[in-house]
C-alpha cells in the first residue's frame, strides 16, 4: 500500500482536484479585475488561491501569495511582506506604488497579489479594523491606478461582509465574486482516484455515503478519504465511525464552520436564514427570507442574497434556481454539519432514543434531494449509515453496523446502557418498493431479536405521495398484526406501535414512515 496521499488538515493538501471556477478566477486576475473568493471553513479557498498562483508561470508576472496578515498589522508591514515574497528587502520606503515600480519594469509587466484568510485582517491592528480598511483601500486605489498591470484576489467568508458594509471597502463590493460550492460526486470520484490506482477502487455506495456525510465540503471529503486509505477493504462502515466521532474530535473545525456564517450581535442574519431553511420545506417564501434578514441587534445589515451566498459558500445549503424567485428553492445539504446536535431531554432512555431517531429522520427528510441518484433513491445502506452517524452525533456512542447474516441484510444496532434499561435496540431500514419487499419487515425484526434486544424499529423511506401512504403501509406491512397508529412526529408521514410476544415476553416495535422528497 502506498503512503496516504490525503491530509485533510492544513492548507496544502497533497491531493487536490481542479475546481470549475479556477479558469474564470485566473482570467479575471489577468485582466486586473479584483476577485473575491467566498468560502467557509474547509471549502478550498487556500487551495484555489494556490492553484491560481500556479497558473502564472510566465516570467512577465510576479505573484505574491499571502497566507495571512503580516506580523506587523500596518500597511507598511503588509507591503514589506509582499516585497519579501519578491525577494526585495531594501525598499527605500515600504510603499506599494514604489514596490510595483521596482518590480514592474523590463520584462516584468504585471504583478499579482493573492490574499488568503482575509477574515483575519478584520480583527488585527488598530481599533475598529483600521488596518484592514487601509490595506484593502490601498490595494483598490493601486489596482485602479495600475489598470491591468496589477491584479488582486482575496479569499474569506463572513469577514468580507464586514469589510464591505462596516468598513466601506470599495474593493470588496466591486470585486468579481467567486462563491465556492461543495464537491459533487464527479469531483469526489476524481479525488478518490488514488484508491483505484492502488487497486482498491471505492464502491459507488461508499462514495455516495462519503458525499452524504461530508456534504461535499472538500476538507471533510479529504478527511473521509484519509481515514479510508489505511484499510485494505475500504467501505462505508469505516466512514460512519470516522464521521460519527468527527464533531467531538474536531470541535475547532465545526466551530470555525459556524463562525464563518454567524457573529452574534454583529452579523447574525446568515444563521437566522439557515435556521429558517432547516425548518422549511425546501421552498422558502421571499417574505420569510427577508424577514430573517431584518435588522435586529446586528450592526451589519445584509440582504438574503448575501446571506444565502455565504451559506452556499459554507457548504450548508443548496439553492436551485434564482435567489430572487418566490419562493426560493433552498434546502440544507446532507452533511454532518447540518445534522441536529441537540439530543432529546426525555428521562426514559428508550423514549430519548426514539425521539433522537425521529430527529435524525426529520433531517433525512429535509436533506431529501441529496439522496436521489440517477436511478432514484440511493441504496438502503446509505440511509443506514446516515442514521448511524446521526445517532452518534447525538451522543449514542455504541451504535453498531454489522452484516446480520441470519437475516441477510445490514441494519443498525444501538446499545442502551442506563441503570434502568440495559440492552440493544434493532433498527431496520427499508425503501418503499413493493409488498413483497416491504411486507415482511416486522418478521425480519422479530427474526433478529436476541435475548438482549429491548426494542425494534422499522424505518421505511420513500418518495411517494403522502396521501394514502399510511393506509397502504398498514395494508402491506401491518396486516394481521396488533398495531396502534400514533401521531406522526414532525416531518414524518406516520408512526405505529406494533405489539408482539417473544420468547422472553411481550415486545414492542416502532414503525416509522418517512418521505424523502426530490424537490426538483
Amino acid at each position: 500500500m502506498k503512503s496516504n496521499p490525503y491530509a485533510w488538515q492544513g492548507d496544502q493538501p497533497r491531493r487536490v482536484v481542479t475546481p470549475k471556477s479556477l479558469s474564470s478566477v485566473v482570467d479575471h486576475v489577468r485582466r486586473g479585475t479584483a476577485v473575491k473568493i467566498v468560502g467557509g471553513r474547509g471549502m478550498g479557498k487556500s487551495v484555489l488561491l494556490r492553484q491560481v498562483a500556479d497558473r502564472f508561470v510566465d516570467p512577465a508576472t510576479r505573484v505574491a501569495f499571502l497566507p495571512g496578515p503580516a506580523g506587523t498589522p500596518t500597511v507598511a508591514g503588509a507591503v514589506t511582506d509582499v516585497a519579501a515574497k519578491w525577494g526585495i528587502t531594501d525598499l527605500r520606503a515600504p510603499r506599494l506604488e514604489e514596490l510595483l515600480e521596482r518590480v514592474i519594469q523590463g520584462d516584468v509587466t504585471s504583478a499579482v497579489v493573492l490574499i488568503d484568510e482575509a477574515d483575519q485582517y478584520i480583527s488585527l491592528g488598530a481599533e475598529h479594523g483600521l488596518f484592514a480598511r487601509q490595506w484593502f483601500n490601498k490595494l483598490e486605489a493601486t489596482r485602479k491606478d495600475w489598470g491591468g498591470a496589477f491584479g488582486v484576489a482575496f479569499a474569506g467568508g463572513l469577514g468580507l461582509l464586514y469589510l464591505e458594509h462596516e468598513l466601506g471597502s470599495g474593493i470588496v463590493s466591486r470585486a468579481e465574486s467567486c462563491v465556492l460550492e461543495p464537491f459533487e460526486l464527479d469531483e469526489v470520484r476524481r479525488l478518490a482516484a488514488p484508491f483505484e490506482e492502488d487497486g482498491r477502487p471505492l464502491s459507488e455506495r461508499c462514495l455516495e455515503t462519503l458525499i452524504a456525510l461530508s456534504g461535499g465540503n472538500p476538507a471533510l471529503v479529504t478527511f473521509g478519504l484519509e481515514r479510508l486509505w489505511p484499510s485494505s477493504a475500504p467501505d462505508a462502515v469505516l466512514l460512519e465511525r470516522a464521521f460519527g466521532e468527527f464533531t467531538e474530535r474536531h470541535t475547532p473545525f465545526v466551530r470555525a464552520v459556524h463562525r464563518s456564517i454567524s457573529d452574534q450581535g454583529r452579523l447574525d442574519a446568515p444563521h437566522r436564514v439557515l435556521e429558517a431553511v432547516r425548518a422549511g420545506t425546501g421552498l422558502m417564501p421571499l417574505a420569510g427570507l427577508r424577514a430573517a434578514c431584518a435588522p435586529r441587534d446586528d450592526r451589519v445589515a445584509i440582504d438574503h442574497r448575501q446571506a444565502l451566498e455565504l451559506l452556499v459558500a459554507a457548504g450548508l445549503v443548496r439553492v436551485a434556481g434564482l435567489m430572487s424567485a418566490d419562493p426560493v428553492a433552498v434546502s440544507p445539504i446532507a452533511s454532518i454539519l447540518n445534522f441536529a446536535v441537540t439530543p432529546s431531554a426525555a428521562a426514559d432512555p428508550l423514549h430519548r432514543l426514539m425521539d433522537d431517531v425521529c430527529l435524525v429522520l426529520a433531517n433525512l427528510h429535509r436533506f431529501g434531494r441529496d439522496f436521489h441518484g440517477k436511478g432514484g433513491l440511493l441504496e438502503e445502506q446509505v440511509f443506514s449509515s446516515m442514521i448511524a452517524v446521526g445517532l452518534r452525533l447525538l451522543g449514542w456512542v455504541e451504535v453498531e453496523r454489522e452484516p446480520i447474516q441470519v437475516a441477510g441484510f445490514t441494519d443498525v444496532k444501538v446499545r442502551v446502557t442506563q441503570p434502568s434499561v440495559q440492552g440493544h435496540v434493532v433498527i431496520e431500514v427499508k425503501l418503499w418498493r413493493s409488498q413483497q419487499h416491504n411486507g415482511a419487515v416486522q418478521r425480519q425484526i422479530d427474526d433478529y431479536r436476541l435475548q438482549e434486544t429491548i426494542h425494534g424499529v422499522a424505518i421505511t423511506l420513500g418518495n411517494r405521495n403522502a396521501q394514502g401512504w399510511v393506509e397502504d403501509y398498514e395494508d402491506w406491512c401491518l396486516r394481521g398484526l396488533s398495531f396502534e397508529r400514533k401521531e406522526a412526529p414532525v416531518d414524518l408521514v406516520g408512526r405505529w406501535h406494533v405489539r408482539g410476544v417473544a420468547a422472553n415476553g411481550p415486545v414492542l416495535t416502532d414503525h416509522l414512515l418517512v418521505r424523502i422528497p426530490k424537490r426538483d
Binding site: A60, L100, D107, T109, L130, S173, S177, P295, D303
Partner: protein
C-alpha cells in the same frame, strides 16, 4: 501584411520602430469597417520579429495614450513569428484589452476584416467595471467638454455621482488628453508632449490621517508622473506640506500648468471611525486655493466623490472652509437618450449584434441609463445571442425582454443597488423614505407631496443621483425590483 491591409482598404497612418524587433503600426480602417465593427478611428498593429512579449503589449498600450486616444484603446492586433499558437499566448499575457492574433493560414494572410469579424464577438466588450479610457467612454461628450473648459480655466470642480456612474472615466478623458503621461504607469523610450501636468491622487491611499501624509502622497504622484514623462525636474519624495509647496511653486514659476485630481475625495473628510476630516486639511486646501489665485488659470482642482456636502460645510479645522465659494459641483447622472442607445448600438456592433430600438427601450427602462448597468444589460444580451450561436449582425429584438431576468440577477446589478440603498439610508434619509414610499406603492403625487414636493430634500437627493424623474415620478426599474425583492423587511417598509 501591408499588401493585405491595402487590399482590405486599411490605410497606414503611422509606422514606428519601437525596438530592434518591434514595430507599431497605426492603421485607419475604411469607413464601412470602422462603422460596422464599432472601431475607433484608428487601430494599432504590433508586429514582432520573434515571439511577442508582455512588454510589447505594454508599449502598445502607452502608444494608445500618446495618440490622444485616436487609437482603439480596447483592441490590439498582433503579428509575430513565434512557433506556438499566437492567440493562446496572447490570452496568457495579463491585461484587459482584446488581443487579436493575425496569423497566416497556410501561405496566405487572411484579410484583417475577416479576422476581426471572427474574433471581436469572442470578447465581452460590455463587461467593464473599472474606469474606461479614450473611445470607450461614450455618451459623455457634453460633460467632457464642460469639464475640460473648467479645468483649462483653472477652476475647482467637484464631480459627483453614484459609484460606477463614470466619474473617474470622465475625468480621465480630460486628463489623458491634457497629459498622456499622467495615465501611464511605466516609462518607456518615448516621450509625450503635455500641455499640462496632471497630479492624480486617490484618497483611498492615504494611510495616516495627517495633512502631511496627503501632501506626501501628492508628491509621490507628481514624482511618478515626472519620471514617466522623462521630465528633468524631479520633486522630493517626502517633505509633507512644505515639500509639496516648494515643488509645486517651482513648477508654476517655470510656467507649468497643473491640474490636481483627488479621486474618492470623500475619504479625506471621513478619515476615521468618527468620519472626521483629516486634521489640517484646510491648510492644504488653502494652499491650493492660494495657487489658483496667484497663478490664475494655471492651477485646477478636480475632486471626485459621491457626496458634495463637504464642499458646502461652513468650517473646516475651525476656520472657513476653503472650498466654499471656490469649488462648484458637476453632477454626473445617468446616460440619457439617445446617448444611452448609441452606447449599446456601438458596442453591439463591436460584438456582431444589431441592437434594435425595442431592445434599447427595455435596457433603458431597466438600467435607468446607469452606465455600468447599461453595459451589463449589453453583456447579458451578448451572452444570450452567443447561446443561440447567431450569425454576425443578428438582431437583438427577439431577445431584449428575455434577458431582463438574467440582467436583474447579475451580481454587478445587485451590488450597485445595495450601494445606492446603503448611501441613501445613511446620508439621505428623506431620499430613502421617498424611495421606499414610491416603490411600495401609493399615489405618486401624494407620496411626492408628503416628502416635500419636487423641490423637497427627498426628491432633490434622488434627482441629483439620477434616480428620480419628477415628471413621471418614476424610479429605475432595477432599483424598484431590488427594494421589492431583496431589501430586508423594515418597519417603515412594512407599514
Amino acid at each position: 501584411m501591408l499588401r493585405t491591409l491595402e487590399k482590405d482598404g486599411f490605410v497606414i497612418t503611422r509606422l514606428t520602430r519601437a525596438t530592434k524587433t518591434t514595430w507599431l503600426v497605426s492603421v485607419k480602417p475604411p469607413e464601412h469597417i470602422q462603422e460596422s465593427f464599432g472601431l475607433a478611428p484608428e487601430v494599432q498593429i504590433t508586429v514582432v520579429q520573434g515571439e511577442v512579449q508582455a512588454r510589447d503589449l505594454q508599449r502598445a498600450a502607452n502608444e494608445v495614450l500618446r495618440s490622444g486616444l485616436r487609437l482603439d484603446g480596447n483592441l490590439v492586433v498582433v503579428v509575430d513569428c513565434g512557433s506556438s499558437p499566437l492567440q493562446e499566448r496572447l490570452e496568457r499575457i495579463p491585461g484587459r484589452d482584446q488581443r487579436v492574433a493575425w496569423v497566416k493560414r497556410g501561405e496566405t494572410r487572411p484579410l484583417l476584416s475577416a479576422v476581426l469579424r471572427e474574433r471581436l464577438p469572442t470578447y465581452d466588450v460590455f463587461e467593464e467595471r473599472d474606469p474606461v479610457r479614450g473611445s470607450q467612454l461614450m455618451g459623455r461628450d457634453v460633460e467632457v467638454a464642460q469639464l475640460r473648459t473648467r479645468v483649462l480655466r483653472g477652476d475647482a470642480v467637484g464631480v459627483f455621482g453614484l459609484r460606477k456612474m463614470g466619474k473617474t472615466s470622465l475625468v480621465r478623458a480630460v486628463t489623458d488628453a491634457l497629459d498622456p503621461a499622467s495615465g501611464m504607469k511605466a516609462a518607456d523610450d518615448e516621450t509625450a508632449d503635455s500641455p499640462a501636468c496632471v497630479v492624480w491622487m486617490d484618497a483611498q491611499s492615504i494611510l495616516d490621517a495627517s495633512v502631511d501624509s496627503v501632501a506626501t502622497e501628492m508628491l509621490s504622484a507628481l514624482g511618478r508622473r515626472m519620471r514617466v514623462a522623462h521630465a528633468t525636474y524631479r520633486p522630493p519624495s517626502s517633505g509633507g506640506l512644505s515639500g509639496l509647496k516648494n515643488a509645486v511653486e517651482a513648477l508654476l514659476d517655470s510656467g507649468s500648468r497643473l491640474c490636481f485630481v483627488m479621486d474618492e475625495y470623500d475619504y479625506l473628510f471621513e478619515s476615521d471611525e468618527r468620519r472626521a476630516a483629516i486634521p489640517g486639511l484646510s491648510r492644504l486646501l488653502r494652499l491650493l486655493r492660494g495657487w489658483a489665485q496667484q497663478w490664475q488659470g494655471s492651477v485646477a482642482l478636480v475632486l471626485i466623490g459621491r457626496d458634495p456636502e463637504h464642499l458646502s460645510t461652513p468650517t473646516l479645522d475651525g476656520v472657513t472652509n476653503p472650498l466654499l465659494a471656490w469649488s462648484t459641483p458637476l453632477w454626473l447622472g445617468p446616460l440619457r437618450p439617445p446617448r444611452d442607445g448609441e452606447l449599446l448600438r456601438r458596442l453591439g456592433r463591436r460584438t456582431g449584434m444589431d441592437v434594435g430600438p425595442r431592445t434599447i427601450e427595455v435596457a433603458r427602462k431597466w438600467s435607468g441609463g446607469h452606465p455600468l448597468l447599461h453595459r451589463q444589460f449589453g453583456s447579458a444580451l451578448r451572452a444570450e445571442l452567443r447561446r443561440h450561436d447567431l450569425a454576425w449582425g443578428a438582431s437583438t429584438e427577439p431577445y431584449g425582454q428575455r434577458v431582463v431576468e438574467v440582467f436583474r440577477n447579475l451580481d454587478a446589478v445587485t451590488t450597485v443597488d445595495r450601494e445606492i440603498v446603503d448611501l441613501l439610508k445613511k446620508r439621505y434619509s428623506a431620499g430613502y423614505g421617498l424611495l421606499l414610499d414610491t416603490v411600495h406603492g401609493g399615489d405618486a403625487e401624494f407620496v411626492l407631496a408628503r416628502s416635500g414636493g419636487a423641490e423637497g430634500p427627498g426628491a432633490r437627493a434622488l434627482r441629483n443621483f439620477g434616480l428620480f424623474d419628477p415628471d413621471s415620478g418614476s424610479i429605475p426599474e432595477h432599483l424598484c425590483w431590488y427594494v421589492r425583492t431583496f431589501l430586508p423587511v423594515e418597519p417603515r417598509a412594512a407599514s
